[in-house]
């Protein structure tokens, strides 16, 4: 079974974690207790402003990822129905016209939190933690919930149903939008995050740790927790950068969390029997700089994001971990410019993924014939399926191209070795009527987002 094989690999591969500058497949760096977050055909989308329709400065500086929903292959939010018993889908007939069942593909098999619910007609429907999943017909754009599209936060544009929404600069469109549609009683969006499926003790939570490509345990400061694959009594062999995750003296075991009484008298948290540590190499929430430092210890990823074969999270000297090929060749996205007062573009997360912008650009990168001689689509296998934050674009020649968080991925001929990112920040003129161009040939870029100034596109590295 593929999933089991994955989990087996995950368990074994901590020994295969490369050195600090090496290539680390995110999924393979996960713990033995890691569970894949999504099955094939189920994707994940950030809800609301995290889609990036709104180019508000606050969005650019720190893209909001407060809610991540399970979604179908089109990115439409999935819901559960309170009246459904575990393992059975009861929304049929008229109900099923408004709440459309998320049917499983033939041959699909459940694992972990994922199972297949039976429908009256014999079809199988995906279920998360036993509850059948549906999408809502009023959701027309990725990142929507209850029929409220995040596109309304941006400038005037057509939504997925072909209707105009939004209408202002930098989020002002929301002021002109219709009032929010209310939640429908009995229904709830199926959220991947926040994730309440793990029973945690006080001071430990489950958060998105992008570099570890998953939902991982973090401490009370939101610092990433790492789990030791081995006997904690032998931890003296760990270097001093590993700090035991200390529990309160009165702390009690809870769920899969247990306590280890250390020789120094400190109670240390353990998850599923594995001692937990923080890394002094992590300086801020979201850091996972302890990855690859010691083969016995890795981020305590409880839910691992899907990563396609042939893709790695590669650690680079200049920009930390980036999305790359398995060989470490940098992968790029085509990105729309947004001016940021205060700078910050050059920072590692200075131009975060904005799925709405990526989808609008699609595979039409508008960089001309010469440009396309040196930029190449990062091809997906013919049988590739959308899964997690990964999607698949169909190219005109019938081939498939990987799409990550909305952005089609590319390689650049100018990169000759791992760590090269010689195409990063390469710009394309995009403002109207450059010198010598006549009016008839002028075509403003439409990347689906209102630029305050002139619009432009650039190539950019992709961070997890």
């Amino acid at each position: 079974m593929k999933t089991q094989r994955f989990l087996l690999l995950a368990g074994l591969s901590v020994t295969a974690v490369a050195a600090a500058s090496g290539s680390v497949s995110a999924a393979k760096s996960s713990q033995a207790f890691s569970q894949l977050l999504t099955p094939p055909g189920i994707t994940t989308e950030v809800l609301g402003k995290g889609q990036g329709y709104d180019l508000g400065k606050q969005t650019v500086a720190a893209q909001i990822r407060d809610d991540i929903a399970f979604t179908d292959a089109r990115g439409l939010t999935l819901y559960t129905y309170a009246n459904d018993p575990v393992g059975k889908a009861t929304c049929v007939d008229a109900c099923a016209k408004e709440w459309v069942p998320m049917l499983a593909q033939k041959g699909a098999k459940g694992f972990g939190d994922w199972s297949l619910a039976a429908r009256a007609d014999g079809a199988k429907q995906w279920a998360y933690r036993g509850k059948a999943l549906y999408h809502f017909v009023k959701d027309v754009d990725p990142g929507s919930v209850w029929g409220n599209s995040p596109a309304r936060f941006g400038g005037r544009r057509k939504n997925g149903a072909g209707e105009y929404v939004g209408g202002g600069f930098r989020g002002a469109g929301a002021r002109n939008a219709a009032p929010d549609l209310k939640p429908v009683e009995g229904w709830a969006p199926a959220l991947a995050f926040p994730n309440t499926t793990v029973e945690v003790p006080a001071g430990i939570t489950l958060k998105e740790v992008p570099d570890a490509t998953g939902l991982a345990l973090v401490d009370y400061r939101n610092r990433t927790l790492y789990a030791l694959d081995g006997d904690v009594k032998k931890e003296k062999k760990l270097d001093s950068s590993w700090v035991p995750a200390a529990a309160a003296q009165l702390a009690e075991p809870k769920g899969d969390f247990s306590l280890i009484l250390r020789d120094d008298g400190i109670k240390q948290w353990a998850y599923k029997g594995r001692a937990l540590f923080t890394s002094s190499n992590d300086l801020a929430p979201g850091d996972a700089n302890g990855m690859g430092v010691d083969k016995k210890i890795a981020p305590a990823v409880v839910y691992a994001y899907f990563m396609p074969d042939g893709v790695s999270v590669h650690n680079t000297p200049g920009q930390g971990r980036i999305i790359a090929t398995a060989a470490g060749v940098t992968l790029y996205k085509r990105e729309g410019v947004v001016h940021q007062s205060g700078g910050g573009h050059s920072l590692r997360r200075g131009h975060p993924n904005r799925p709405a912008v990526g989808r609008d650009i699609g595979i039409n990168v508008m960089c001309g014939e010469d440009c396309m001689k040196v930029w190449h689509p990062f091809k997906a296998p013919a049988d590739a399926q959308p899964q997690g934050f990964w999607n698949v674009a169909q190219r005109p020649d019938g081939s498939k191209q990987w799409v990550y968080q909305g952005y089609a991925l590319w390689t650049y001929d100018g990169d000759k070795r791992p760590n090269d990112m010689n195409g990063n920040d390469d710009f394309t003129y995009a403002y109207a009527a450059p010198p010598g161009v006549d009016k008839d040939s002028v075509k403003d870029l439409d990347v689906g987002t209102p630029m305050d100034g002139a619009s432009a596109l650039h190539w950019s590295i992709v961070v997890p």
Binding site: L283, G286, G318, H339, S346, L347, N422, D444, G453, A454
Partner: protein, 382 residues
């Protein structure tokens, strides 16, 4: 060899060489250092801006209006009557809901319809902003032709710096080497704490005697480190980014404390592309540097710069920057287009490059191996 940069031992610097001096053999891996070099100094650029030399009376009839007044002129260009403009101006002054800003952010006309003026600068009525009439400007004789413009430092004539002429009457682009132009003070302040720094390596057989010298410019992985007062911190350590796009090598001469690099080169430094220029790019560039007594360096780099990229850096910033910093952005488009003096488009004849000069200051710095521990971190994600 750039990927083999050797970390210079700090102990060496502590023995009287803290001001950036290093024995060349220890820097043998530094890019393009000549094989015979025995002395190398490394620096990080702590200030970079257009080399301005604004003087009283160099704009006939005064400098260009402030943006509020310019907008009133632009309203007239759009066909509004004096009484309509007066009414709108009164509302603006009274803090009422004035339509001026909205009209200005859509003052281009494409097929008669309002359009974004920053995206469509050629479809805005040329506001005919004033340009400098001064014949004093920093830079170099790039075309070998005689001309009236004289460099106030070198007293050389025939200087090519039409960029200074084009923007010389824009308030935010006026200043001197000592009194920094507003635009660059703002832009550099925005960039320096996050944009990868630029490092300079000077190598020669001896920097204490006249002779051949080589200078390289590269981009670092780290941003400029600053002191608490915002000034560039000396003796901080940087790793060189091997990206070839920002690797520049110039060969020149050292005489006294002056370094001159007269052989024209293509010069390129990537920067945060959301500022103007989007990246620093010149053709036929020349350079001069001064070794200063405090261990720092300063100098001028001049060449032909693609003016449309400079415009795009402003154009993407749009109305906020126009109103608060630069002044009329489509007006700048017309100025740059008018004064462009090189690289004619084969089809239209319109020059695509403009002669320009930039000023830099740099303080001593260390260079570490590319594989040294990375220090850049993502913003917090609580």
């Amino acid at each position: 060899m750039i990927g083999k940069v050797v970390r210079t031992p700090k102990s060496l610097f502590r023995t009287g060489l803290r001001a950036g001096f290093a024995v060349g053999v220890l820097m043998a891996g530094v890019a393009a250092a000549p094989a015979h070099a025995v002395e190398t100094r490394t620096f990080v650029i702590g200030w970079f801006s257009e080399a301005t030399y604004s003087q009283d009376n160099d704009c006939v009839g005064g400098i260009n209006p402030n943006i509020d007044d310019q907008y009133l002129k632009n309203l007239a260009d759009l066909g509004y009557t004096p009484s309509q403009i007066e009414e709108m101006a009164k509302k603006e002054l009274d803090g009422e809901n004035s339509p001026i800003r909205g009209l200005m952010t859509s003052r281009a006309r494409v097929d008669g319809k309002p359009a974004n003026p920053y995206a469509y600068p050629a479809f805005v009525v040329d506001p005919k902003l004033k340009s400098s009439t001064s014949n004093l400007a920093y830079g170099f004789d790039l075309d070998g032709k005689p001309g009236p413009v004289e460099d106030p430092q070198t007293r050389q004539k025939g200087i090519d710096n039409e960029f200074a002429r084009a923007l010389g009457c824009m308030r935010s682009f006026r200043g001197s080497l000592e009194s920094r132009p507003t635009y660059y003070a703002w832009a550099w302040g925005q960039l320096k704490d996050s944009m990868p720094a630029w490092v300079v390596t000077i190598s020669a057989e001896s920097l204490s005697k006249d002779g051949d010298v080589t200078v390289t410019f590269d981009r670092a992985f780290e941003h400029l480190r600053s002191n608490a007062d915002g000034s560039p911190r000396a003796d901080a350590t940087y790793r060189i980014d091997p990206d070839p796009r920002s690797h520049n090598v110039l060969h020149g001469k050292l005489k006294g404390k002056e370094l001159t690099f007269d052989t024209p080169v293509d010069f390129r430094l990537m920067q945060n592309p959301l500022m103007a220029p989007m990246e620093f790019k010149m053709t036929k560039a020349k350079l001069r540097l001064t070794l200063k007594d405090d261990g720092s360096i300063s100098g001028i780099v001049g060449g032909y710069m693609p003016w449309s990229e400079f415009y795009l850096g402003l154009g993407t910033q749009g109305p906020g920057t126009e109103y608060c910093i630069t002044g009329d952005i489509p007006g700048i488009y017309y100025l740059l287009k008018k004064f462009a003096d090189a690289d004619p488009d084969p089809k239209t004849g319109q020059n695509r490059a403009i002669s320009a000069a930039y000023y830099l200051e740099a303080v001593p710095a260390f260079i570490a191996s590319e594989s040294a521990q990375a220090t850049q971190h993502a913003p917090a994600r609580e």
